[in-house]
Amino acid sequence: MRLAAVLVLCAVFAMALVGTVWQIAGQPVGGTLPETVADAMADSGVDHPVTAVLLNFRSYDTLLEIGVLVIAAIAGISMARLPSLEDPELRTHDSLLHALQRWFLPLMWLVAGYLLWAGAVQPGGAFQAGAVLAGTGVLMRLGGMPMNFLQPRLLLRVGLALGFAVFLLVAVVSAAGGDAFLAYPEGMAKPLILLIEIFLTLSIAMVLLSLFVAAPVNDAREPAEGESE
């Protein structure tokens, strides 16, 4: 009964949505943004338009988005106890995974580095590189590597915040010179974007990895308000 009702509602919604898409596709108004982007590419400091949009034209979005990632990581590690990451049970004896690690990991590092570098001119960039790096970390973790830096200590927190902090500093330095917030000083766009991307890659990888590792076991709990301890 409930299934039927929800199905009917969803069907109605789907039809309305498809109709809306159809209508909008039929009568677009206004100018086109890609041309504006193409015109501004020369001033952006990079050659790949998506990277230019992400890290220059709409860099505020990206800044806040990294903030979202950091928040998720903070909320995640706030729940973690992580007693000992060197849990003996974690050590795998799977030889395939072992072999995979031996050969695969360096390759992944290489891929990540390439993706990062390539981002300036062609597809790729900090997110993809960070994700690959995090994937590498996950594999290492699954392989039983201790990865003590993932303990919720200062090192981890520095790692989480590093990319964001560098981004923020770059953003504010130009503003201190009287420019707008997040504006790159003339001619500095390319190196600054590269700098940001390097640190972002590290931090993104760290965030994703820590969320993976911060599987929550924490028996300590705060009593609800008004409940006595």
């Binding site: 498809v18 709409r58 990206t62």
Partner: protein, 105 residues
């Protein structure tokens, strides 16, 4: 009708499927999967519809990249919460036996 528009329609479909899952499913992990479907659908509509009018458009592509990162952040956080919740209560639904009223759109 361009290929982009086709994917936009596909996105509308995927979004609706995700919405259905979000409303109807009870298991938290399935809700989370449904949310990710909604996200993917939205991204398809965003790029598909924009490119239908503009041709290849770096702006929505960049937006989708941002959106994907936000979605993974939310997903990962939700997973941490769900697992901890499961650890404390042994439950994988919000309130067993009662329906959730999130997500009537």
């Amino acid at each position: 009708m361009s290929v982009h528009l086709l994917y936009a329609f596909a996105g509308a479909g995927v979004f609706t499927i995700g919405l259905f899952g979000m409303v109807f499913m009870v298991h938290l992990l399935r809700k989370l999967l449904a949310f990710n479907l909604m996200g993917s659908g939205t991204f398809l509509v965003l790029v598909g519809l924009a490119q239908h009018r503009n041709g290849v458009d770096p702006v929505p592509q960049a937006l989708v990249l941002t959106g994907i990162v936000v979605a993974i952040a939310a997903t990962a956080l939700a997973l941490v919460l769900i697992r901890r919740y499961f650890h404390l209560t042994g439950q994988v639904t919000l309130e067993p036996g009662s329906r959730d009223d999130e997500g009537h759109s």
